[in-house]
Point group: C2
Chain length 233, copies 2
Amino acid sequence: MLRDLGQTPAVIGIGGSLGFDSAITPAGGLDALIALESIGTRQSFARNQEIYAEGDACKHWYKVVSGTVRICKLFADGRRHIAEFCFSGDCFGLEDLDERAFAAEAVDDAIVMCFPRGASERLADESPALGRLLREAMLRNLTAAHARMLLLGRMDAPQRVAHFLIEMGERKAGENHFDLPMSRNDIADYLGLTVETVCRVLSAFKRDGSIEMPQPHHLDIRKRDTLDALAKT
Amino acid sequence: MLRDLGQTPAVIGIGGSLGFDSAITPAGGLDALIALESIGTRQSFARNQEIYAEGDACKHWYKVVSGTVRICKLFADGRRHIAEFCFSGDCFGLEDLDERAFAAEAVDDAIVMCFPRGASERLADESPALGRLLREAMLRNLTAAHARMLLLGRMDAPQRVAHFLIEMGERKAGENHFDLPMSRNDIADYLGLTVETVCRVLSAFKRDGSIEMPQPHHLDIRKRDTLDALAKT
DNA sequence: CGCCAGTTTGACCAAGATCAACGCAAGTGG
DNA sequence: CCACTTGCGTTGATCTTGGTCAAACTGGCG
């Protein structure tokens, strides 16, 4: 547990991929991380179960232990926007507002650690190193958010899907062969497209040999170069 | 100068509106803010002048004193994406990467304060209160980034323009009557639209009486309700 | 005066949304 | 064990929004 925290320590952000995998943990930071770990509680959620709802009070933040979590928002007209998918090691639910602007739901069966917000802020106060780690993580998150703005504002459908596949490959496994835990609808709402468009683009990728998809949720990237070229802005 | 910092203290983020206008400055935070102010230098830029370029080293971050700054990125195909407009009191240029992912340019004649990155990080290490303020500011920035994702991913052209007009009204003046310092091209690149579409939507708003625009850069919101209703997701 | 950069408008086109249908595998209940 | 339902995924036909291309208008400024 300790070793795990040391390698991908708990980190902050509304959601997003931000373990400190490559960060050096300065003296003092490690103690704070141990203390942080000790104030967390473990929770399990079933597929599609709500972790917190839009409008709930922001009393805690979370770190994914296993499974997948989506950070999302439902509109009056029934449409949905997914801000982020969180995988093992990712953190979510830390916001500056008092109320949740987004909901968090388990995509598949998921286990998360839950940290009280106030206590972890006090820990950061006592440990400059932890404070700095948190700031760095937030900036990383901000960088990721800007990248997503580019995707949503400037990329066409094939580019978005290619970008998504590469992102998933890197975050899930770092390999060309992996499972997609989320539905086509989830993917569409994450990329700002419709289910139909996502399907069509995936079919097109399959047709030109860029990917193989024996089952809808089992993916194999065959021409990474082609996808990379597309995803490159 | 000191009073100014106390009211809208220097704050961090790639860009964005994040003065601590409403934040209480806890004991100790103020000292750090004074120290921060003392390490800053004042710089002036002419209209369209570059403050830093994409790829430059991230040695400093900035706070707008007067004028307008755009944070933007140019693509190989000539298109441009504007991540943020920064007005008086806003800060920009603090990133986690070593190289600038975006450029910063003066929209009109602008004056900024420039702070060395390393020195301000050390200040935050010494002052938990400052560290906490910075974290809060970053989270605010993250919230803003998520709102922009919603805009870029889910809103149609009239909604985006309505949202933009309301945002500018609130940030520039808090009134219904104000100047738009940026060009139609800037607006388009900020909203993920083309100049033509921005013009058409503005003309439509003018036709239905939602706004008046005696000159292209002078705006008067006449039916805020209509615009609000549009902008509401 | 004419030039120039920025703005506006119109005609046309294409990417992706919408609407509709079908396929397919995993339940579910008789 | 087999109809029947249900939830996803896929595919096709059509429509809409906003992009593209082209041209005209405007207000400074040499």
